[in-house]
């Protein structure tokens, strides 16, 4: 089977950095962090108080009340991001194209807010029953299903859940289905709404969340900061995009996966390195072509030096020239949506020739001795970029993109 070239023709984002891709990019370029006090729920009983909330997201602007009853917040993010990406692509979904299009989404925790509400009713308020929509709202594939129903897309649709790598695994599968000719268009990405007390308490107990902000690659980094949101990309074969005169953001050229077979939470150097190598090999890329990496960059003590070591192992001398930034410093760690939000950041970086920074940067860490684009965005026309996601459980997924010069 011949491999088709695949391009990104539409993007949509809801995040701590705004209601859409335009606001998202503006914040990234300004290096402005969206991390702040969590306002959706009372966090007085939590050791951490900050998060990357989609503060300006108002469901009533997007859905009528009847629809909202059927949509957990994570599915709302998926649907709103998908609508934006589809509109942005300008593609017309004809009946033929709908039958030949697919949807692949990622989510790590699914409808936790809905579940929490049910558990509160059951265990705290001692009510004898929960909302009958609890299952339909909280299922991990709710986002994909709603996108399918709203767009009328009837090709393959599914959801992947691989913790923090969910969205990268999703985009990678969608990319391969388009490349292999299984489908003619994909809406793919991820969404997450983790700000439910039960879930936040679980993160607190793991002791990986920073009490203040997210400072990737800094000596004084104190852990991750949770984020929420959704991001979707429209992928099409290059030929179809050219034929309809679509605006092309960039080409998606490679996808690589690996597993550490090592530890539930401790990262390894080898696993991530093998996933980066696999993505580059899949895209036929050499180290010298990689100019930017959107890092996994969680700002936990363990991740950052391990990731830098993996980048060095893969790129060799090119590691001294590559720019690597963690945009989690601005939008927080959106778990199963992280890969999609960061893929959009990477796609926009290639399109605009500007690399988003690692915000909140204070003191360099000798163990993370690499160019992390501290605090200030940088103009740079790079040819190719990688976007890394490494999940708890040692599951790694890396996407590779190439600038489109038209």
């Amino acid at each position: 089977m011949s491999r088709r070239r695949v391009v990104v023709t539409g993007v949509g984002v809801v995040s701590a950095l705004g209601r859409n891709a335009r606001e998202f990019w503006q914040s990234l370029v300004e290096g402005r962090s969206g991390i702040g006090p969590i306002t959706q729920l009372d966090v007085s009983a939590l050791r951490f108080k900050n998060g990357g909330e989609a503060r300006n997201f108002n469901p009533a602007e997007h859905f009528d009340q009847k629809q909202i009853d059927f949509l957990d917040r994570f599915a709302q993010f998926a649907l709103v991001a998908a609508r934006e990406a589809l509109k942005d692509s300008g593609v017309e979904l004809t009946p033929e194209l709908r039958a030949r299009s697919g949807i692949v989404t990622g989510s790590c925790v699914g409808g936790k807010i809905t579940e929490d509400e049910g558990f509160q009713n059951l265990y705290l308020l001692k009510k004898p029953r929960v909302n009958p929509l609890t299952i339909a709202r909280s299922m991990g594939n709710a986002g994909a299903s709603h996108i399918s129903m709203e767009t009328g897309i009837t090709g393959p649709a599914f959801t992947l859940s691989t913790a923090c790598s969910s969205a990268n695994h999703a985009v990678g599968q969608a990319f391969r289905m388009v490349r292999d000719g299984d489908i003619e268009l994909a809406i793919t990405g991820g969404s997450e709404a983790p700000f439910a007390m039960g879930n936040l308490k679980a993160w607190e107990a793991m002791r990986v969340v920073s009490p203040d902000t997210c400072r990737p690659f800094c000596k004084d980094r104190r852990g991750m900061v949770l984020g929420e949101g959704g991001a979707m990309l429209v992928l099409e074969p290059l030929e179809a995009a050219l034929a309809r005169g679509a605006r092309i953001y960039c080409e998606i050229v490679g996808f690589g996966m690996s597993s550490d077979a090592h530890h539930l939470t401790q990262p390894s150097v080898e696993g991530p390195a093998r996933a980066m190598c696999a993505a580059m090999e899949d895209g036929g890329l050499k180290p010298e072509q990689i100019g930017y990496i959107n890092a996994h960059g969680t700002a936990t003590p363990a991740n950052d030096p391990t990731e830098v070591a993996a980048v060095r192992a893969v790129l060799g001398p090119q590691a001294g020239r590559v720019a690597i930034s963690s945009t989690k410093s601005m939008h927080g760690h959106a778990l199963g949506a992280a890969g999609a939000i960061e893929a959009v950041a990477t796609v926009l970086a290639l399109k605009h020739g500007i690399l988003p920074p690692t915000a909140n940067f204070t003191t360099p860490d000798p163990e993370c001795d690499i160019d992390v684009v501290p605090n200030q965005a940088r103009r740079a026309e790079v040819e190719c970029a990688l976007s890394n996601s490494f999940a708890f459980g040692g599951l790694n997924a890396v996407l590779a993109f190439r600038r489109w010069d038209g």
Binding site: R47, G223, H263, Q266
Partner: protein, 90 residues
């Protein structure tokens, strides 16, 4: 450092890590006991329940052995001193 506190900490570690108590002494390091970072948060959880206290992340980081852990707990166990707190708990 009270013997009672040491005994309860060792007992907590043993129960949480499914280790025989006699393998654990006040001078054991986590490395010797094969305790990694994820095991560490499990032990902290067990101790928080055992003593009904909250152990801050900052105090918990950098603890590498049983003695350090007992010392950190002494500071956290409430007001009228470990002996009284222990008496109340038991």
């Amino acid at each position: 450092m009270s013997d009672e506190l040491i005994r309860r900490v060792i007992s907590c570690i043993a129960a949480s890590q499914k280790l025989p108590e006699e393998k654990i002494t006040i001078d054991s390091t986590f490395e010797e006991l094969g305790i990694d970072s994820l095991d560490g948060v499990n032990i902290l959880f067990a101790l928080e329940n055992e003593f009904n206290i909250s152990i801050p992340d900052e105090g918990a980081q950098g603890i590498r052995g049983v003695r350090q852990l007992v010392e950190a707990l002494e500071k956290l166990i409430p007001s009228n001193g470990p002996a009284d707190a222990l008496a109340q708990e038991s």
